[in-house]
């Protein structure tokens, strides 16, 4: 097992949960509340230097009792060491974790993807809005287990919404303010964009 796990236990004690080795990779569970400080330690701490954030993703298991897991894949380029940090989020509560953008700029889009697909919110993220689905997508978060494979709306409704979307409406605020589509997006959305508030989408009724 990666010696980092022991170092983490010594420093953070109760904040570190179980650890395991899977296919040669070390996995360590961390409490959501301590994620930021653990990550700062892993990135900057002596003998750690996990300076490369490889990926951020999430897993939801079919078993509804099991919590949703955030997965952070770290790599130390200097030491050639790998570490996978997981955070368990109770699905009965609000899904929030700290954003890692202050630590790694590259976390920006990765966290947006997790938000888009799983609905996990990232506290402190500078631009939390959908990245794969479009801004006005109202069917929910597609990779959640309670999301029907073919979406929540009828095919006709999906095609109607798709056809009536302005191709330019997927742009960011900076792009869209100079695009023709700016005046065609709903006024309410324009307002939200102007306030820098993004990605808030009404959840569908039957979710």
């Amino acid at each position: 097992m990666n010696p980092t796990v022991q170092a983490l236990r010594n420093k953070f004690q109760g904040a570190i949960g179980r650890a395991a080795v899977s296919c040669g990779d070390t996995i360590v569970y961390v409490k959501a509340a301590n994620l930021s400080e653990v990550m700062v330690f892993l990135k900057e701490g002596p003998d750690q230097e996990y300076n490369y954030l490889v990926d951020i993703t999430a897993v939801e298991y079919r078993d509804p009792e099991r919590p949703l897991e955030m997965v952070y894949e770290l790599f130390s380029l200097a030491r050639r060491a790998q570490l996978r940090v997981k955070v368990e989020l109770d699905k009965s509560e609000e899904l929030v974790v700290d954003s890692l953008v202050p630590l790694w700029n590259g976390a920006n889009w990765l966290e947006r993807e997790v938000y888009d697909m799983f609905g996990v919110r990232f506290a402190g993220h500078p631009d939390l809005r959908r990245i794969l689905m479009w801004e006005t997508y109202a069917e929910g978060h597609p990779l959640r287990k309670d999301f029907p494979l073919r979406g929540r709306f009828s095919r006709a409704e999906q095609v109607r919404q798709a056809l009536n979307a302005n191709p330019e409406a997927h742009y960011s605020m900076e792009e869209i303010s100079i695009a023709e589509a700016y005046h065609e997006i709903p006024a309410e959305m324009r307002e939200r964009l102007a306030r820098g508030e993004r990605g808030k989408i009404a959840e569908p009724e039957n979710s």
Binding site: M133, K145, F147, P148, L149, G151, R160, P167
Partner: protein, 206 residues
């Protein structure tokens, strides 16, 4: 002359007012011969099918033999919209806009299972057949179709073009969205998008 007719090209509105006769059929033959042998494709390649399309255009299969050597990357200079690959809902408005920007006469080839029916992607993100978005002239089956398959589809389109007549100006009517913002009735879109084949057995959750 109604506004509708004004939108069509001059020759066609004049000819369409004459009943089909020897002159118009000869003229048809000449024009269709020209059109069918100089179809300029607008490649709309979104996925793996586009790779096969490139193979078709390259030297071994050589699309140029059929008058298609000039890929038209501007919709305004294209005759055929060649949709090669799956189209997600996010691209539906884009392909629709490209189609609308093409001048008449225009045709559409839907290449591959995904473009024609949604293929293996019977999910929340994918258009289940581009015919729910734009009218399609020729469907080429396969995943992906072999270059021979695509060439056969192109030859079929040429045959279709050769069968057209200037006397029927409705061929050049623009496809417009109805009041519901769709080009087909909603029930028909639902019916076209019904799961079929293996996708019936996919697990439905929720």
């Amino acid at each position: 002359m109604g506004l509708d007719q004004l939108k069509r090209t001059g020759t066609e509105s004049v000819v369409s007012s004459i009943s089909p006769n020897w002159v118009t059929t000869r003229l048809d033959f000449l024009i269709n011969w020209g059109r069918s042998n100089s179809l300029w494709p607008m490649p709309f390649g979104t996925a793996c099918c586009a790779i096969e399309f490139m193979a078709t255009a390259a030297s071994r299969y050589d699309l140029a033999r059929f008058g298609m050597e000039r890929m038209s990357f501007s919709p305004r200079q294209a005759d055929v919209l060649l949709c090669a690959g799956r189209v997600p809902f996010k691209l539906a408005s884009v392909i629709r806009r490209i189609y609308d920007q093409m001048p008449q006469p225009k045709w559409v080839i839907s290449m591959g299972a995904c473009a024609s029916t949604g293929g293996i992607f019977d999910n929340y993100a994918m258009v289940q057949g581009i015919d729910t978005v734009i009218p399609v002239d020729v469907y080429v089956p396969g995943c992906p179709p072999r270059p021979e398959g695509l060439l056969y589809g192109i030859l079929m389109l040429q045959k279709k073009v050769r069968g057209e007549t200037l006397a029927d100006s409705s061929l050049r009517d623009e496809d417009e969205l109805n009041s519901q913002g769709l080009r087909l009735p909603p029930s028909l879109v639902d019916e076209l998008s019904e799961p079929f084949g293996n996708s019936i057995h996919q697990t439905r959750s929720g």
